[in-house]
C-alpha cells in the first residue's frame, strides 16, 4: 500500500472541496478500494471518506425511491419499500458478497467496484490493459471462464462484478452526480462503458465527480420482479450468469418487461433486444426462449466461457417463467 492522507467529508460539497484540493479518491466501505490499494493496483495519495454523506432512503412524491450513495448494501436490502416494490434489488444485493461485506459496502462503492478478473488483480505478474493501457490482456488466451460474452473488445474481456447494478439497470435507475460543474443525472445503464479500446476508462464520471444518490422510478409493476444468480458455490461467489427481470402481463400478453444480465459484460447488461422481442408477445416458454436467443445472438464465447451462452438462455427463460407463473 502506498502512503496516503485521510479526511472525512461532512457533506457532498465538503467532499468535492476536499477532492479538488487533494486530488483524492472517495472512500465508501473500502471493501474494494482498500483491497486494490493493498495490491498497489490503486495508489491514491488521498482518501476522502464519504460514508458520512446521505445514508437515507427517501420516498419521493411521485412514488419513486431516492437512495443515498452512502447507504450500506445491507440497509438497502432490508428496506421495507425496496423489498415490497423492488424485490429484484433486495435479492440481488443479498446474493452478493457476504454479510460482513454487505454491512460495510455502500451504494456508491458498489456501483464503482472494479472487475474481479484475476489478471487485473495480479499486479506483479500479469499483463492487463485495464491496469496498464496498451500492455496486453492475459485473460483473452488465459483463464476466462468468468469473463464476458457480450460487448467485449480485443483489448479487454472482463465483466462488471456487481449484482446490485444488474437490478438497478433493469429498473431504469438514475444516478445523481455532483461535480465541479454542478449536479447532473445519468441513467445507470449509461454510467459504465463497454471496454472498446480503453478498458481503463470505465465510466462516464468526470474526475472528482461524486455519486450522491440513486433514484428508482415509481413503477408499481416492478413489484413483480426477481433476481437469480448462478454461481460456482452456494454463496460468496461472483455470478457466472445473473438475471434481473420484471414482468407485466395483460391478459395473455406481455405488456411490459425489464430484463438485465450480470456476469456477461463489462457493464450491467440491459437486454434491450430481448425486451423488444417480448413486448406484446404471449408469455410462453417458447417466446421467452426466442427473446433470450435474440439477445444472445451477438454473444461471442472465449476459450472457457462458451457455456455461459446456453446458461444465460436457460436462466432467462426460467426467470421469466417463474415471474409469469407468479402472475398467472
Amino acid at each position: 500500500m502506498t502512503p496516503f492522507s485521510f479526511a472525512r467529508a461532512t457533506d457532498a460539497d465538503d467532499a468535492l472541496r476536499l477532492a479538488s484540493a487533494r486530488g483524492g479518491r472517495y472512500l465508501g466501505g473500502g471493501t474494494n478500494l482498500v483491497d486494490l490499494m493493498r495490491e498497489t493496483i490503486e495508489r491514491p495519495t488521498a482518501l476522502i471518506d464519504v460514508t458520512g454523506l446521505s445514508s437515507t432512503i427517501g420516498e419521493r412524491d411521485d412514488g419513486g425511491l431516492l437512495i443515498g450513495a452512502a447507504v450500506r448494501n445491507t440497509a438497502v436490502a432490508e428496506h421495507a419499500a425496496v423489498r415490497a416494490r423492488y424485490p429484484a434489488l433486495a435479492r440481488a444485493i443479498l446474493s452478493g458478497a457476504s454479510g460482513q461485506i454487505r454491512n460495510m459496502a455502500t451504494v456508491g462503492g458498489n456501483i464503482l467496484q472494479r472487475t474481479r478478473c484475476a489478471y487485473f488483480y495480479d499486479n506483479a505478474g500479469s499483463r492487463c490493459n485495464k491496469r496498464n493501457p496498451g500492455e496486453g490482456c492475459d485473460a483473452i488466451e488465459g483463464f476466462n471462464r468468468m469473463h464476458a460474452i457480450l460487448g467485449a473488445s480485443p483489448s479487454c474481456v472482463a465483466t462488471h462484478p456487481s449484482d446490485m447494478c444488474v437490478a438497478l439497470a433493469a429498473f431504469d435507475a438514475t444516478a445523481h452526480l455532483l461535480g465541479a460543474d454542478g449536479e447532473r443525472r445519468l441513467p445507470l445503464t449509461e454510467l459504465h462503458h463497454l471496454p472498446n479500446g480503453r478498458p481503463d476508462d470505465e465510466t462516464l464520471l468526470k474526475p472528482g465527480e461524486l455519486i450522491t444518490a440513486v433514484e428508482l422510478p415509481a413503477e408499481r409493476w416492478f413489484a413483480r420482479s426477481t433476481y437469480r444468480k448462478v454461481r460456482d458455490r452456494a454463496s460468496y461467489a461472483f455470478a457466472l450468469i445473473s438475471v434481473a427481470a420484471a414482468l407485466k402481463i395483460d391478459g395473455d400478453r406481455i405488456s411490459d418487461v425489464r430484463l438485465a444480465l450480470g456476469g456477461v459484460a463489462h457493464k450491467p447488461w440491459r437486454a434491450h433486444k430481448a425486451e423488444a422481442a417480448l413486448r406484446g408477445a404471449p408469455a410462453t416458454a417458447e417466446h421467452f426462449r426466442d427473446a433470450a436467443r435474440a439477445e444472445l445472438a451477438g454473444a461471442v464465447p472465449l476459450s472457457h466461457n462458451g457455456f455461459k451462452i446456453e446458461l444465460a438462455e436457460r436462466t432467462i427463460v426460467a426467470v421469466l417463467q417463474e415471474l409469469a407463473g407468479e402472475i398467472a
Partner: protein, 781 residues
C-alpha cells in the same frame, strides 16, 4: 448426530463408574504375539467420552496464542516479494528505494542473505521437514513462479509491505516446463513413495480385462489443490545469542528444529521450535521458505522477526496437492467377482520435490481380484513443490476407484454396495497379510439403514421441481501408520497431578484432549489432574502430526512411559506400602494411586508413595517399541459414505442435501472431537468434489487463484448437516484399539458425490471439480 448424543448420555451415566476398576499396565501388547491394550476392555473410563476440547475456551476467548501472536521486544515485521517468472535468473536488482522507505530495517536478497545449506527435503533424513531441496535465497536462480526473491524487514507490517512494492527486479527468463502435456512429452518416470515403488503387478490384468464378462475402463482427472487452512503460515523468530527460537505453526516441531539447525550449520539443541496451536495443517504446516527467511533476516538484523505469509504468499510458496490423470479399469465375472483391477496414470511434481501423489495406495488393499496392475508415473513441471494434502493419494485415488465401481455396478444392474461386499477381500489382496480389523461391511449395513439407501431410484428418475435428486455411496480407506521415534515423559507430583510430555502437535484435532483422557484413564486420575504438554521441540520424541498417525505414536510412547513409571513407583513404595512385593503386571491405576488388580483394597495413592519416599516428583521417560505391527497386518481405517445430491436441471448447480459417514476406525477416543474430524474431512471432500481447483496458468506457470475469493473452498451454505456414526470396534493390534481418523473423512467423499450426481442426472463426470459447466455440456436438463 444422535450417535454423539448417545455417547454423551452414556458418558453421563457412566461417570460414576469412572476409576472404579484398576487399569492394568499395558504390555507392548498390540505387537504380534502380545495381548491387546487393556484399555480396550475398560468401557467405563474417560476414553471415548465426548469431552469438550481443553483449549476450546481459550480459543473462543482469543487467548490461545498462535505463532503470529508472540510479541518480542524490538520486533520487526517481514514482507516477502515473490518472483514473477518461472525459471531463469535475477539480472538486475534495485533495492535502494525500499531501503530508504520509512521504517525499513533492511532488505534481504540473495546478495546479503546469510549463507545456509539447501533445504533438507522431507524423506531425505528421518528429521527432514522441507518441501523441496532448494537453496533459500542463496543465488540469483529462479525455480518457480512465486519463489521468494527479496524480503523487507520494517518496524511495522505496513511499512514492510510498502517498501516491498518499491523493489525493482529485472529477470532473464529461461524456457520452463509449465504444461502437463509438455511435461508428459518430456517423458515420465516411475513414482516412488516413502522409498517404495508405486507399482503392483499380479497376474496379467490387461489380458484378463480384455476377456472379462463385464468391464469399465475410464480415465479420471483431478486438478491441483492449494492449501487454505484458516491460519496462514507464520512464525515469530529470534536469535538469543547463538540460540535460534522459532514460535512456529507446524505439524513437525522436532523435524523443523533439526532442519533449521542443519541449514544454519548449528547443533540441533541450539534450535527451539514451539508450536502451541496450529490453525489447521492438513500436511502444509511443515518447513517452507518463510521460517528459514525469517530466521535468516533475524540474524542479519539482529532483531526478532515476525513473518506472516499473506494469503497470496501461502498460494505461492506452500505447495499443494498435485494433479492426476488416472486410468481405472475393472473386469468382472457375470456374478460380479472382480477378475482384473487396473489403476495407472500420471501425476506431476517438480524437479526438486519427492512427493508423487500416490493415488494407487488405497487400491492396493481395497478389493479382492484375480489380477492387478497399478502404477504411478511422474512428469516434472516447474512449479512450487507439491506436497502432502489431507489423504495424499487416497483422496484422489478413491475418486477413480469408487466411481469405477459405481459405473460397473450400473452396467451390471446391481447395487453398488452389494458389488463392493461381493469383492470384500479376506486378507490384503496384494500383500497377503491378514487385516488387523476390518468391519467395512458392518459400516455399510448400518450406514445404509440410517441413510435410507433402499429408497434410491434408477439414474435420472427423481425430480422435484427444477431439482434432480440422487443418492450415491463410496468407500473410503486410509492406512494405519505409526512412525518410529515416539518417546514420552510422564511426571507425577506429590499433589497427585500428572503431566505427560511429548513433542507432538495440536492443530485443532483435539489431540491434547484425547490424550488427557487416555493418560487419566491409565493412571486412574480425574481429567483435571492430568496435563498433556506438547508443541515444543525440547519435549521428548520425534512426532509428526501427519499420516493420521500421531495418536498411535503418542499412545505407544505413553504406554512405554506408563510402564516405566509404575516400575519406579513400586520401587519407591518399598516394603511399608500395601503394594509391597507386587510386580508391575499385578497393579493398575485406580483412584489417584496404584492398586492390586484383583484386590483393589491393596492401594496407595501416588501422593502418599512420593511423600513417603520424600520425593516432590517422579519423572520417567521411555520410548515406544518399533512400529512392526504394520508388517504383520494390513491395517486401515474405513468408511462407508452416503450422499444425497440435488442438481438443478436448468443451471447445473449442485447442492448436497444430506451426507452420512459411517466409519470403522477402531476405538474412538473422544466422540466429540472425532465427530469434528470426520465432518471436517467430509467438508474438505465436498470442496474436492465440487469447487476446489488451483488456477495454474499453463502458459506462465503462475497460480492465478491466489486468494480465497478465487480459490473456492465450500462456504457454509455448501455444507449440509453431516451425520456421522462409527462401529467403535477396537483394533486389537493398535495402542488403545484406535486407528487414525484425521484423513479418512476426505477419502471417498469425491466419489460419493460424483456417484450421487450420476444417480440424480444419469450423467457421469470424471473430471473434478464437478462444476455446472461440465454438467451442462454433458447435457443435463
Amino acid at each position: 448426530m444422535s450417535i454423539v448424543k448417545d455417547a454423551a448420555e452414556a458418558a453421563k451415566g457412566l461417570a460414576q463408574a469412572v476409576t472404579k476398576k484398576a487399569i492394568e499396565v499395558a504390555p507392548d501388547g498390540w505387537v504380534p504375539g502380545g495381548t491387546p491394550d487393556p484399555l480396550i476392555r475398560n468401557q467405563h473410563g474417560h476414553v471415548g467420552k465426548p469431552v469438550s476440547r481443553i483449549d476450546g475456551p481459550l480459543k473462543v476467548q482469543g487467548a490461545a496464542r498462535f505463532a503470529a501472536e508472540f510479541t518480542l521486544y524490538g520486533m520487526t515485521y517481514a514482507s516477502v516479494l515473490f518472483s514473477t517468472i518461472t525459471k531463469g535468473r535475477i539480472a538486475t536488482l534495485d533495492t535502494a528505494d525500499a531501503e530508504a522507505a520509512p521504517g525499513v530495517v533492511l532488505v534481504m536478497t540473495y546478495r546479503n542473505a546469510p549463507r545456509m545449506r539447501p533445504m533438507p527435503a522431507f524423506g531425505s533424513n528421518r528429521m527432514a521437514a522441507g518441501g523441496d531441496d532448494l537453496p533459500v535465497m542463496q543465488d540469483d536462480r529462479v525455480h518457480w513462479n512465486g519463489q521468494p526473491v527479496a524480503l523487507v524487514l520494517a518496524d511495522t507490517q505496513e511499512q514492510a509491505d510498502h517498501a516491498k512494492s518499491l523493489i525493482r527486479i529485472g529477470y532473464e527468463a529461461e524456457a520452463a516446463t509449465t504444461s502437463f502435456e509438455a511435461a508428459k512429452a518430456d517423458g515420465t518416470e516411475p513414482g516412488q513413495f516413502q522409498g517404495d515403488p508405486l507399482q503392483v503387478t499380479i497376474g496379467d490384468a490387461e489380458t484378463v480385462l480384455a476377456s472379462a464378462a463385464f468391464k469399465v475402463d475410464e480415465t479420471y482427472r483431478t486438478p491441483r489443490h492449494s492449501h487454505a487452512a484458516i491460519e496462514p503460515h507464520a512464525a515469530t523468530v529470534m536469535w538469543d545469542g547463538d540460540m535460534l527460537v522459532v514460535h512456529d505453526a507446524t505439524q513437525a516441531v522436532t523435524h523443523t528444529a533439526w532442519s533449521l539447525a542443519h541449514m544454519f550449520g548449528i547443533e540441533q539443541d541450539k534450535v527451539r521450535v514451539t508450536s502451541p496451536y496450529v490453525g489447521g495443517g492438513f500436511g502444509s504446516k511443515t518447513l517452507w521458505q518463510h521460517q528459514v527467511l525469517g530466521a535468516a533476516a533475524a540474524k542479519l538484523a539482529d532483531r526478532p522477526v515476525r513473518i506472516v505469509l499473506s494469503r497470496e504468499g501461502v498460494f505461492r510458496i506452500v505447495g499443494g496437492r498435485s494433479l492426476t490423470e488416472q486410468r481405472f479399469a475393472i473386469g468382472a465375472e457375470k456374478d460380479g467377482c472382480f477378475t482384473a483391477m487396473i489403476h495407472t496414470g500420471t501425476t506431476i511434481m517438480t524437479p526438486h520435490s519427492a512427493m508423487p501423489e500416490p493415488f494407487i495406495v488405497a487400491t492396493r488393499s481395497g478389493y479382492a481380484a484375480d489380477s492387478f496392475k497399478m502404477e504411478v508415473r511422474v512428469a516434472r513441471i516447474d512449479m512450487v513443490a507439491n506436497t502432502f494434502m489431507r489423504a495424499p493419494g487416497e483422496a484422489v485415488g478413491t475418486f477413480a476407484m469408487e466411481c469405477a465401481i459405481d459405473e460397473l455396478a450400473d452396467r451390471m444392474g446391481i447395487d453398488p454396495i452389494e458389488l463392493r461386499i461381493k469383492n470384500e477381500p479376506e486378507k490384503d489382496p496384494t500383500v497377503g497379510t491378514p487385516f488387523s480389523s476390518r468391519n467395512i461391511v458392518e459400516a455399510y449395513r448400518a450406514g445404509a439403514e440410517r441413510f435410507g439407501w433402499a429408497r434410491r431410484q434408477p439414474p435420472g428418475a427423481r425430480r422435484e421441481g427444477e431439482w434432480l435428486v440422487g443418492l450415491g455411496c463410496a468407500t473410503g480407506t486410509y492406512p494405519y501408520y505409526r512412525m518410529p521415534g515416539g518417546v514420552a515423559r510422564i511426571s507425577i507430583g506429590r499433589d497427585g497431578h500428572a503431566c505427560a510430555s511429548v513433542a507432538a502437535h495440536e492443530m485443532g484435532m483435539g489431540t491434547a484432549t484425547a490424550h488427557t483422557q487416555v493418560v487419566a484413564e491409565r493412571l486412574g486420575l480425574p481429567l483435571d489432574q492430568v496435563t498433556v504438554e506438547y508443541g515444543d521441540s525440547r519435549l521428548p520424541g520425534l512426532f509428526l502430526a501427519g499420516g493420521s498417525q500421531q495418536s498411535a505414536a503418542i499412545g505407544a510412547a505413553i504406554i512405554a512411559a506408563h510402564r516405566a513409571l509404575v516400575v519406579e513407583l513400586l520401587k519407591l513404595a518399598g516394603n511399608d506400602s500395601p503394594l509391597a512385593g507386587l510386580k508391575p503386571e499385578e497393579v493398575g491405576g485406580l483412584d489417584g494411586g496404584l492398586a492390586k488388580l484383583d484386590e483393589p483394597a491393596r492401594w496407595e495413592s501416588y501422593a502418599s508413595i512420593l511423600a513417603r519416599a520424600q520425593r516432590a516428583e517422579l519423572s520417567v521417560e521411555a520410548a515406544a517399541p518399533a512400529p512392526i505391527e504394520n508388517q504383520h497386518w494390513s491395517m486401515h481405517s474405513y468408511s462407508a459414505l452416503f450422499c444425497e445430491a440435488r442438481v438443478n436441471a436448468v443451471t447445473g448447480e449442485v447442492r448436497i442435501a444430506r451426507f452420512l459417514g459411517s466409519f470403522d476406525c477402531g476405538r474412538i477416543l473422544n466422540a466429540k472431537t472425532a465427530a469434528s474430524q470426520f465432518r471436517g474431512g467430509i467438508i474438505m471432500g465436498l470442496g474436492l468434489a465440487l469447487t476446489e481447483e488451483t488456477a495454474f496458468d499453463e502458459r506462465t506457470g503462475r497460480v492465478m487463484s491466489a486468494s480465497l475469493a478465487e480459490y473456492h473452498i465450500p462456504a457454509h451454505l455448501d455444507v449440509p448437516a453431516i451425520d456421522v456414526m462409527w462401529t467403535n470396534i477396537p483394533d486389537p493390534h493398535t495402542p488403545m484399539g484406535a486407528r487414525g481418523i484425521g484423513e479418512i473423512g476426505i477419502t471417498g467423499t469425491g466419489a460419493a458425490v460424483a456417484n450421487a450426481i450420476y444417480n440424480a442426472t444419469g450423467r457421469r463426470i470424471r473430471d473434478l471439480p464437478i462444476t455446472l459447466d461440465k454438467l451442462l455440456s454433458a447435457g443435463i436438463g
